[in-house]
Symmetry: C2
Subunit: 412 residues, 2 copies
Amino acid sequence: MTPPPVTVDADRLWSTLMTMAEIGTTPAGGVRRLALSDEDRAARDRLAEWLTAAGLTLRVDDLGNMYGRRAGAQADAAPVVFGSHLDTVPTGGRFDGVLGVLAALEVIRALNDAGLRTRVPLEVVNWTNEEGARFVPAMLASGVVCGRFTREEAYGAHDPSGLTFGDELARIGYRGEAANRLRECTAYLEYHVEQGPLLERARTQIGIVEGIQGISWNRIEVTGRAAHAGPTPMPDRRDALVAASRLVLLLRDGAERLRGVRATVGRMDVSPNTVNVVPGRVEMTLDVRSSHDDGLDAALAAADRACARVAELDRVEVRRTEFWRSPATPFAETVISAVAGAARGRGFSAKRLWAGAGHDAKYMADRFPAGMIFVPSKDGLSHNEAEWTAPDDCARGATVLLDAVLVLAGAV
Amino acid sequence: MTPPPVTVDADRLWSTLMTMAEIGTTPAGGVRRLALSDEDRAARDRLAEWLTAAGLTLRVDDLGNMYGRRAGAQADAAPVVFGSHLDTVPTGGRFDGVLGVLAALEVIRALNDAGLRTRVPLEVVNWTNEEGARFVPAMLASGVVCGRFTREEAYGAHDPSGLTFGDELARIGYRGEAANRLRECTAYLEYHVEQGPLLERARTQIGIVEGIQGISWNRIEVTGRAAHAGPTPMPDRRDALVAASRLVLLLRDGAERLRGVRATVGRMDVSPNTVNVVPGRVEMTLDVRSSHDDGLDAALAAADRACARVAELDRVEVRRTEFWRSPATPFAETVISAVAGAARGRGFSAKRLWAGAGHDAKYMADRFPAGMIFVPSKDGLSHNEAEWTAPDDCARGATVLLDAVLVLAGAV
């Protein structure tokens, strides 16, 4: 297969990325661009300029999602949509999210340079509040568009200082029309940095994302008996922290024995949490991820066996409650194939993998054929000011995006 | 050996105890009588009445410590001093501290009833702020009397609302004269509930306390690498909480292998402590206790080996720093013998043990011959509204106190 006669401009992409990174830049070289902040507004304004300059028709919906549309030969066909988000976590980097938006812009610029039209329209998208760092939950605006949340839920979400999503959206001038929401879509593609170490370690250039892992969030409560650290002999103790510690190790071992499962105890709160008192109670969280829902179930069954074992060994009560679950979301075979074909066509090394983190592509996949492209993250780092993806890697991903979009949208 | 012809009145002691428990009583049947609070003042006022009514000469020193003196045949001899404290923790019980003060009063009443004089004077003492629950540190006033802290340190100590020890002492009318401080002492005896389960479990009536355990407080910092719970494969993680958990279990095992050592991880703070982030850092405390200073040293050496092992296994950094140490304090053989002889003389079952918690007797032992008497605590509970010691047990301890005081002070 000969590569199509159109190609992204690696230098232009990089310089666009670095220009955007000047908005909200941190002393350590990262980016702080919280959703609906002044920095987010500045980034949106700049993006709007660039999209318009590239000939796209811009519209903003009632969640602040921005869409830049390029007409297709079939004017009324459902568009191929691609993009990501401009917002960051408080100490974020220069690639997470923004790479997908600006590579989408670069795809448009490259098509313009080549004078190439597509059969169906194209739309570049910037989703509002993907990170969930300012307004909980994450992926809030794509979630409304895809029917996961109501607009009222989104508008009512408030940041730690009490400001609401709705008010902040209006304040920065990005509260558009509900009629502007995305309603139909031939395919959705999101290009993103991996945020994990697999591609880098395998010295592989492109990640063909097969889906987004299922996630189960659980609360585990361990109840023992608080006692004086001084007068209480070791064999008499019902130490909730000793029990919780044993459980952490069993959960880790259990996850390592199950293929494709990840388990994390991320939070632990000890009570009374005092130097000279044997802990009476520990509350902790368990995050389990798997690319298959029966992976989640197997991991949770193993977790329950571990809880029972600890309860017996350490004479404590252990209770696990699942408080949130997001099922595994496989991507559409058409989109996966378009990505795989594009990578193969360009001679890039590629590897199939599952996304471990959430992305707007998850909610989009509930309604439309969707997929993702990953490129390596140095040391697997993200949500970190030191986040880094090399210029060549950025360009390779954009090239795969370009080619896959052409396959999905049809070149004319 | 025939018991001396004097005996405590078990009913009077119990009714005195229960009367005092009405001051600061909680809905759950415990006591809240924080140092220098209105409740503490009311308890002190009542004690002052009782001491005076029993013929004692009351004086109050500049720390609010109350001494009730009964003259001896040798007017100028150093007194035998015995007592404890009236203050409690916020949800305390009816026995911790107050039993030692009111049993001391009962000893005086019993001697009065029997018309018995002693060779050296007797002094009943109520120490201010033993618990440290309102003003840190604990045992503050006995610590000043014994030269461990300055009066300025004590006066400057403040409660969580910012009120100082000095001001509150004046407010409740118990700021006396420095000249009234205890300056000499033939022997000091403190009668207290065990606060642990050993006597109850051994079905033993009297604890002959050999000393107060040494305590070492340590901070342990575990540094791994924070990472996304989603995209980070299990083998890539440097999870500080997995490492800390392994350490908790190794520290527990290590302490169980060393005779007479207790080790407690009472506090653990996880960072960033978020459900979906692999913990990058854990800070925890280690409380080690032993009746011998080389027990402390052996336990800390074992702790360091455990830290090194965890650092290697889990690829984290582990650092231990001791931030406070209180050496083991053996009691005086003369006082221990007096207690042992008294228990034996009355035919009470008795057992030698070490106190695991701090008591005013610790600072007194730095300056004077000192010792303690324990009686059983139901289920080993203390600092708890459910604290319980049966009337018979209370009376037996008071009887041992009486007989030991007579031995140490000499009956005439």
